[in-house]
Assembly symmetry: C3
Homo-oligomer: 363 residues x 3
Amino acid sequence: MNLLLKEIRHNPLLWLLAFVPVVFVSQKFKPEAHTLLFVLSVLAIVPLAALLSHATESVAAKTGDTVGGLLNATLGNLTELVIAVAALRAGQYMLVKASIAGAIVTNTLFVLGASFLLGGLKHHVQEYNRVSARLQAGLLFLATVALLIPSLVGEPDSAGAAFTQKLSLGLAVLLIVAYGLGMLFSLKTHRELFASAESGEAGEAPWPLGLALATLAGVTVLVALVSEVFVESVQQAAVAFGMTPAFVGFIVVALVGGAAEMGSAFSGARKNRLDLSVGIALGSAAQIALFVAPVLVLLSYVMGPTPMNLQFWPGAVVMVLIATMTASLLTNSGRSAWFVGTLMLMVYAIFAMTLYLLPPRVQ
Amino acid sequence: MNLLLKEIRHNPLLWLLAFVPVVFVSQKFKPEAHTLLFVLSVLAIVPLAALLSHATESVAAKTGDTVGGLLNATLGNLTELVIAVAALRAGQYMLVKASIAGAIVTNTLFVLGASFLLGGLKHHVQEYNRVSARLQAGLLFLATVALLIPSLVGEPDSAGAAFTQKLSLGLAVLLIVAYGLGMLFSLKTHRELFASAESGEAGEAPWPLGLALATLAGVTVLVALVSEVFVESVQQAAVAFGMTPAFVGFIVVALVGGAAEMGSAFSGARKNRLDLSVGIALGSAAQIALFVAPVLVLLSYVMGPTPMNLQFWPGAVVMVLIATMTASLLTNSGRSAWFVGTLMLMVYAIFAMTLYLLPPRVQ
Amino acid sequence: MNLLLKEIRHNPLLWLLAFVPVVFVSQKFKPEAHTLLFVLSVLAIVPLAALLSHATESVAAKTGDTVGGLLNATLGNLTELVIAVAALRAGQYMLVKASIAGAIVTNTLFVLGASFLLGGLKHHVQEYNRVSARLQAGLLFLATVALLIPSLVGEPDSAGAAFTQKLSLGLAVLLIVAYGLGMLFSLKTHRELFASAESGEAGEAPWPLGLALATLAGVTVLVALVSEVFVESVQQAAVAFGMTPAFVGFIVVALVGGAAEMGSAFSGARKNRLDLSVGIALGSAAQIALFVAPVLVLLSYVMGPTPMNLQFWPGAVVMVLIATMTASLLTNSGRSAWFVGTLMLMVYAIFAMTLYLLPPRVQ
C-alpha cells in the first residue's frame, strides 16, 4: 500500500486520480450537466488506466508478457463490456454494435499503430515474436470473420430477420466455446508459443504480486463505476460537440473504453517490449469478437427489450475486415518502424473522419 | 492381390466394402428407397476412400509426397467431377455451382483444419514446408479470384446475362490453360519446390507400384459408380433430413465427394507428414477452381440444356474468398497447432450452420 | 552526349525515336487522323521509355536500386499524371478515375507479373529482399485501402454526394501528408530497409551521372508532349478498335502511361535484380494512390468544371483490392518463379477481358 502511495506521489499523471471522487460527487449533485460529467469521467479514466497499466506490468513481470497481456486485455475489455451492458439495457443496440466493431478496429489500427509509432520514434527498427504475432493475427482473422458471417451472408429483408436471429444465437454459442478453447490453448497447452522474443527489463521495480493483484481488482471496479457515468453522459455530450452517434459508438466509446489497455501497450512499445503491445492489441480485439460480442447477444435475451442479432452496418463490416487484414499483413514480418504505425493511424483517422462526416440516418 | 486381401482382412474399416455390392443390388431392386440408398452409398464410399488413401500413400512413398498429393487430389476430384456432370445433365446448375464452391471451401477449411487438429492432438507443434505452402496458397488465391471475377464484377440484370456468359466462356479457356501450365510447373520445371520438408516414414509397408496403381484405378471406378447412386438419392434424402438444397450442394456433396482425399490428408497429418495434408487440401481446392469448374462450363455447352455461366450466389462468393484467404494467412508460418485447426473447423461449422438455416429461396 | 548517340546507334529499339518528330508533324498537319496519331504516339512512347529506362539504371547504379526505383516510379507516374490532368480539364472524371485504378492494377499485376515471368524464364528461382517487399506491399495495401474508403463506405444516393465530396477532400489532404512522410521514411530515416538484397552488376556500362540526369529530364518532357497527343487521339481510336471507355482508361492508358517504368522493371528482372522490379511496381502503385490520386482531386477544384470525388465504380474497387492483396500474398516469400508471374498475368488478362466485354453503360 505504501508502494502504491509512493508511486502516486512520483507520477504526476496519477494526480488526476483526484477526478475520480469529483465524478461521483458531480453526478450526485449535477446529474444533468452531461458535458461536464463526460469531460470529468474521461479525466478520471485516464489515471485509472495508467494505474492499471503499472499493476498489469508488475503481474506481467512475474508471469511473462503474454499472460500479462491476456490478463490486461481481459480487464481492459471489462470496461467495454460494462459500457455495452448499460447500452444493452436501454435497448440501444446500434450503440452496442458500433462499440463492438469500434473496439476491434481501435485495438488493431489505433493501439497497434500508435505502439509502432511511439516505439519506432525511440527505437530504429523493432523486432517482435513473429510466430506468436502471426498466430494471433490468424486467430483474430478467423474470430472476426466468424463474427461477421451474419452480416456478410444475411439478407436484409424481413424474411431474413428470423434467419439472422437464429444464426446469431448459434454463432454466439460457438464463439464462446472457441474462446474457452483459445484460453486452454494460449494459457495451457501452447503457452510457450506466446512467450516474448526478448524478455526486456522493466524500467521500474515491479510491485509484489499481492499489491499488484489487489490494485488490478480495485481499479477495475473504479473504472467500471466511472464508465457508468461516462455512458450516461456521452450521448448528450456528443450532440453538444457535434458528433454523430456512429462516431460516438465507434471511436469515442472504443477509445475511452480501451484506455486501460492502451497505457500498457504504449509503455511496452516505448520499452522495446513490442510483444506486450502486439499481444494486448491483437488479444484484446480477438477477445471482443470471441467473448464480449457473443456474451452481449446472450445477455440481450435476459436484459434487453428484444434479442439482439449480429447484423452489422455494411460500413462497419468493411472497416473491421480492413483492420483485421491490416493486422495480418503488417505483423507478418515481425518488424516495425515508425512509418508503418503512421500509416495505420492514418487509416484509423480516415475511418474516424468518415464516421464524423456520415449523414446520421445512414448508420 | 494377396497383399490387398491381407490389408482388407487386417483393417476393420475396409469391411465396409461389403456395402459396395449392397448399394448396387439395392439400387436395382429398390430404386425408389432414396434415404436408404443415400445412407448405403455414403457407407460404401468411406471404405473405398480408405483403400484409395492407402494405395495413394504407396504411390506417394515411391514418388515423393507432392506428386502423391497431386495424384491423390486428381483422383479425389474425379468424384466431384462425376457428381457435377450428373447434375449438369439434369440442368441442376445451382447444385453444380454449390458443389464447386463447396468443394473449395471444404478442402481449405475442413480438410486443412481437421488435418491441423488431428495432427496437433498427436504432435505438439507441426512444421511443414513453408515455401511450398505459401506458393500453393498464393496460386489458390489467384485461381479462386479468377473463378470469381464474373460474380464480383458482373451485373445481375438481364443486359448483363450475355456479358456474364461470354466472360465465363473466355474465363473457362484461360483457366484450363493455366491449369496445364501449373502441371508443367509443379511436376516438371520446379518440382523440387513441392518436395516435402521431411520425408517421414510410412507406418505400413508400401504396396508394390503395380498393385498400388491397379487399386487406384479400380477403386476410382467403383467410387464413380457409387457416386452416381449417391447423386440420384441425395436430393430426396435431403428433404427427408430437413436440409436445404444449398446445404446439400455446398456441404454434403463436398464432404462425400472429397472423402477419398480426406482419408489421405488426415492420415498424413497423424503421421506428422503435414506437407502431404497441405498439398492435398490446397492442391485439391486449386484443381477445382482451375480444372473442374472450367471443364463443367465447357461440358455444359455439349451436355447441358443451356450453357452454364460462372456467376455464383453472393454468399458463396464470400465463403470461398474467406476460405482462400484463411488458407493464405494461416499457412504463412509453416507451423500449426491444434487450436488453429479448431478455429478453421469452427468457421466451417458456421458456414454449414448458415447454409442449413438459410431460407430456401435465397440461394 | 556522344555516349547517348552511341547508345542509340547500337540499340535498334531506339531507332523508333524517329517517330517522336513524326508524331508532332502529323498532329500539326493531320489533327483529325485519330487512329494514325494513336498508333504513332504509342510507337514514339516505346523508345522514349527504353531511353528513360537506361538513364534511370545509370542513376540507380550510383544511388542504389531503391532510390533509382523510386526516382523511376516518380518519372514514370509523371506520364499518368499528365494524361489524367488533360482528362481532368475536359471534365472526363470517369476516364481519370479509370486511369488511377488501372495504373494501380497494371503496376501490381502486369508489371510485377511480367517481371516474375521474364525473370523466371531466365533464372530458375529468383530471390529478392523479402523485408523490403513485405513492407512495400503492406504500405501499398494501406494506401489503396485509404484511397478506396469513400467507395467502400459511401452511399451512392444523392444525400451521400456532399458527404462523399467532403470525405474525398479530407482524404486527399491526408494522403499527401502520408506521401511526404513516406518519402522521409524511405529516403531518409530508414533507407537501409529499401536496399537491395544483392547488388547485381549492370550489363552495360552506366552513363555518367550528369548525362543520365539530363537524359531523364529531357526524355520526360518528350514523353509528356507525346502523351498529350496520345490522350487526344485515344478515345476516338478506341471506338475505331471497338474498345469500351472503361477498357481504354483502365488498360490502354495505364499500359502506355506506365511504359517507361515497365522497361526498367523488366530489364531489372532479366538481370536478376528483382528488387528493382518489385520496387518499381509496388512503389509506383503506392505513389499513384498516395500522390497522383489526391493531387488530381485537389487540381479538380482549380482546373475541373466541378470538384472530383474519390468514388470509384464497384468493379474497379474489386479489381484494385484483388491486385493489392495479390501483391501482398505473393511477395511474402521473397521468391518467385515463372508460374507465379503467369498466374498474375492471367488475372490481369481476365480483368482486361472483363472490361473489354463490359456493356458500356455499366462503367
